[in-house]
C-alpha cells in the first residue's frame, strides 16, 4: 500500500499537466492559492476585529457568534452556497464555485483567529496596560505598542490552527469541481484509485506541515524573545515566568 502510494507520487506523469489531467504542481498551486485567499480574507476580518474587541472589551458577543460558525457543517454550507451562487456566473470562469469555497474556508478560519486575538489582548497583563496608559500612551498607542506585540503568541497560534484547518479543508473545493490537492482525493475516490487518493492526502498533510513550519519560523522572529522566553543570554533567571504562556482552549482548536 505504502509502496503504491510512493510509486504514484514518483510517477513523472503525475507531475505534468495534460489535456485531461492536471499534474501535482498545478494542483498544489491551486490549493495554495485557495488557502492564501481564504487566510488573507479571514485575517483581514478577524485580526482588526479581535484587536478592537480585546482592547475595548466591547462587542464581545461577536466572539461567541464567530465561535458558533464552527457548528455549521462545511459540506452543507458549500453545497448551499454553490447552488445559490454558481448559476450567476457565465463563461469560462470558476468564480461561481470559487466564491462558495472561499466563503466556507473563511468561515473556518475566522473563529480561531478572532477568538485567539481577543484572548491574546485580554491576557496582556493589566499592569503593563496600566503602565502604558499611565505613561501617556493614547488608546491606539497602547494597542499598537503593547497589546499587539504581547498577544502575538496567541494570535500566531490561532492563525496557525486556522491555516492547518484551511489547508485540510480546501480539499472540499474538489467536491464542487475545483482543482487543488483534493482533486486527487475525490477523483481517486470515484476511480477507486487508492494510491492516488492517499497520495493526495499525503500531499495535503505535507503542505500543512510545511506551512506550519514556515509560520513557526516567522513567529520565532516576529515574537519578542521577552515573551517567547527564548533568551540569548545564558543567564536566564526565572524562565518559568516567561514560558508560562497562556493557553486557551481556542489555541488548541484545530
Amino acid at each position: 500500500m505504502i509502496g503504491d502510494v510512493l510509486t504514484w507520487l514518483n510517477d513523472p506523469a503525475h507531475w505534468r499537466d495534460t489535456r485531461v489531467d492536471k499534474g501535482i504542481p498545478t494542483q498544489l498551486q491551486t490549493h495554495i492559492t485557495f488557502t492564501l485567499i481564504a487566510l488573507a480574507i479571514a485575517l483581514a476580518l478577524a485580526l482588526p476585529l479581535g484587536l478592537f474587541i480585546g482592547h475595548t472589551g466591547r462587542l464581545t458577543f461577536l466572539v461567541t457568534a464567530a465561535n458558533a460558525l464552527r457548528a455549521l457543517p462545511t459540506v452543507g454550507v458549500l453545497v448551499l452556497l454553490t447552488v445559490i451562487i454558481s448559476p450567476h456566473f457565465h463563461g469560462r470562469t470558476d468564480l461561481g464555485f470559487v466564491i462558495p469555497t472561499e466563503i466556507v474556508l473563511v468561515f473556518l478560519a475566522v473563529p480561531p483567529i478572532l477568538s485567539n486575538t481577543y484572548a491574546g489582548v485580554q491576557n496582556v497583563s493589566a499592569a503593563a496596560r496600566d503602565a502604558a496608559a499611565g505613561m501617556g500612551m493614547t488608546g491606539t498607542q497602547v494597542l499598537r505598542k503593547v497589546e499587539l506585540p504581547c498577544s502575538l503568541p496567541l494570535i500566531f497560534s490561532g492563525f496557525r490552527s486556522a491555516t492547518l484547518q484551511v489547508i485540510a479543508t480546501a480539499t472540499v473545493a474538489s467536491y464542487v469541481t475545483l482543482g487543488g490537492l483534493g482533486a486527487f482525493i475525490y477523483d481517486g475516490l470515484q476511480q477507486q484509485d487508492f494510491p492516488q487518493m492517499i497520495g493526495g492526502g499525503v500531499l495535503v498533510a505535507l503542505l500543512a506541515l510545511l506551512a506550519d513550519l514556515l509560520l513557526a519560523t516567522i513567529q520565532r522572529y516576529a515574537v519578542s524573545r521577552g515573551i517567547s522566553g527564548r533568551f540569548s543570554t545564558k543567564s536566564v533567571i526565572p524562565a518559568d515566568a516567561a514560558t508560562a504562556q497562556v493557553r486557551t482552549a481556542e489555541a488548541s482548536t484545530v
Binding site: V20, S86, P87, T177, Q190
Partner: protein, 300 residues
C-alpha cells in the same frame, strides 16, 4: 483499479499526438464529466479511439449532477457527459450528440445481485420488474424525482402500483438483503423499486443508497456490504472487462455473464436504457453545426 492511472497516461499521450496541424472543433472545446470518465474505456479514450475526438481540456464535474448541468449551461464547459434520461437535458434545451459508432454501449437496466441472495423468489420478483420497465417509463420516473421533487420512495411505490406489481406475496420471504444504489437519482429510484417490491414479497430489506461510483460499490457487492444494486449492462461490463467490445444489448448481456465474478449474477435485463451521452448546448450545436459526436472531429 490501480492500473487506471496508466490508461490516463496513454490517453493523454495519444491526444497530444493527434493535436496536429489541423484544428478540429473539439480542440477548441472543453469537455466536462465525472472523474472516472477520463479513464473509462468509453470515456475520453473511447471518444478518441472511435471518433478521433480530442477535446482541448477536461474538467472534472459530478456524475450527471447539477454541477455538470450548471457548468454546461453557463459555459464553463462546452460539452458534457450526461445521461440520456436526464430531464434537465430537455429543460435546458441541450442537444444530445448522436453516437453512430456505439462508443457508449447499450445500457439496459438490470439487477446485479449476489448469487447467494438470488433465490428463485427474488429472481421472480426482480424479473417481473425488468419486464415492465422501459426507457419512456424511466424518463417519467426521473422527471417526477428530479423536476417535481417527489420522493424516490414514493415514486417507486407509485410506479409499482401503476404497473400492478404492488400485490403482496411471499416469494422472497426469509431473504435478508441490502439494496444499494449509485449516487444519482435514477439509481436511487430503481433501487427503491427493487427494495419495495422485495419487501412486498416478504424479504427483510435494508438500503444503502447514494454510495458513489461503481468503483466504490462493486467492491461492496463483492465483500457483501450490499447484495443488490440496479446496474446498466454496458457500463458494468466495461467496468469488469476493460477490453469488452460488445455494444448491442444482447451481445453485452451475453458477454456480461462471462465477465461477472463468481459470486455475482445479473438477472433479466429490462428494455429501459439510460446511457451516457455527449451533450452540448443549443448554441454550441448551432455554432458548429453539431449533431453527432463525429462532427466534433471535423475541422473548421
Amino acid at each position: 483499479g490501480s492500473d487506471s492511472g496508466k490508461s490516463t497516461t496513454s490517453g493523454s499521450t495519444g491526444s497530444t499526438g493527434s493535436g496536429g496541424s489541423t484544428a478540429t472543433i473539439a480542440s477548441k472545446l472543453i469537455l466536462g464529466g465525472p472523474p472516472e470518465f477520463k479513464t473509462r474505456t468509453d470515456g475520453v479514450p473511447g471518444l478518441q479511439k472511435n471518433y478521433g475526438v480530442v477535446f482541448s481540456g477536461y474538467k472534472v464535474l459530478d456524475t450527471g449532477g447539477p454541477v455538470t448541468v450548471t457548468a454546461l449551461k453557463n459555459g464553463q464547459v462546452d460539452a458534457a457527459d450526461l445521461f440520456t434520461t436526464d430531464p434537465s437535458i430537455a429543460a435546458n434545451g441541450f442537444v444530445i450528440l448522436q453516437d453512430p459508432k456505439n462508443n457508449f454501449a447499450a445500457q439496459n437496466v438490470l439487477p446485479l445481485i449476489s448469487k447467494a441472495k438470488a433465490t428463485d423468489g427474488v429472481t421472480k420478483v426482480l424479473n417481473g420488474i425488468s419486464a415492465k420497465l422501459d426507457t419512456a417509463g424511466l424518463g417519467a420516473i426521473l422527471t417526477k424525482v428530479q423536476n417535481d421533487k417527489q420522493d424516490p420512495d414514493a415514486v417507486a411505490k407509485q410506479w409499482l402500483k401503476d404497473q400492478g406489481l404492488d400485490a403482496a406475496g411471499t416469494d422472497a420471504a426469509g431473504v435478508t438483503l441490502t439494496v444499494g444504489s449509485a449516487n444519482f437519482p435514477e439509481s436511487v429510484v430503481l433501487a427503491q423499486i427493487y427494495a419495495e417490491a422485495l419487501k412486498d414479497h416478504g424479504a427483510t430489506v435494508s438500503t444503502k443508497l447514494n454510495i458513489g461510483a461503481r468503483e466504490v460499490y462493486v467492491p461492496g457487492l463483492k465483500d457483501g456490504s450490499i447484495d443488490l444494486i440496479p446496474e446498466y449492462n454496458g457500463s458494468i461490463l466495461q467496468y469488469l472487462d476493460k477490453n469488452a467490445t460488445a455494444t448491442s444489448s444482447d451481445d453485452v448481456y451475453a458477454a456480461l455473464q462471462k465477465a461477472l465474478p463468481p459470486n455475482l449474477v445479473v438477472l433479466d435485463q429490462s428494455k429501459a436504457q439510460d446511457s451516457d451521452a455527449i451533450v452540448v448546448t443549443k448554441a454550441t450545436a448551432d455554432k458548429y453545426g453539431l449533431t453527432s459526436i463525429a462532427d466534433l472531429a471535423k475541422t473548421q
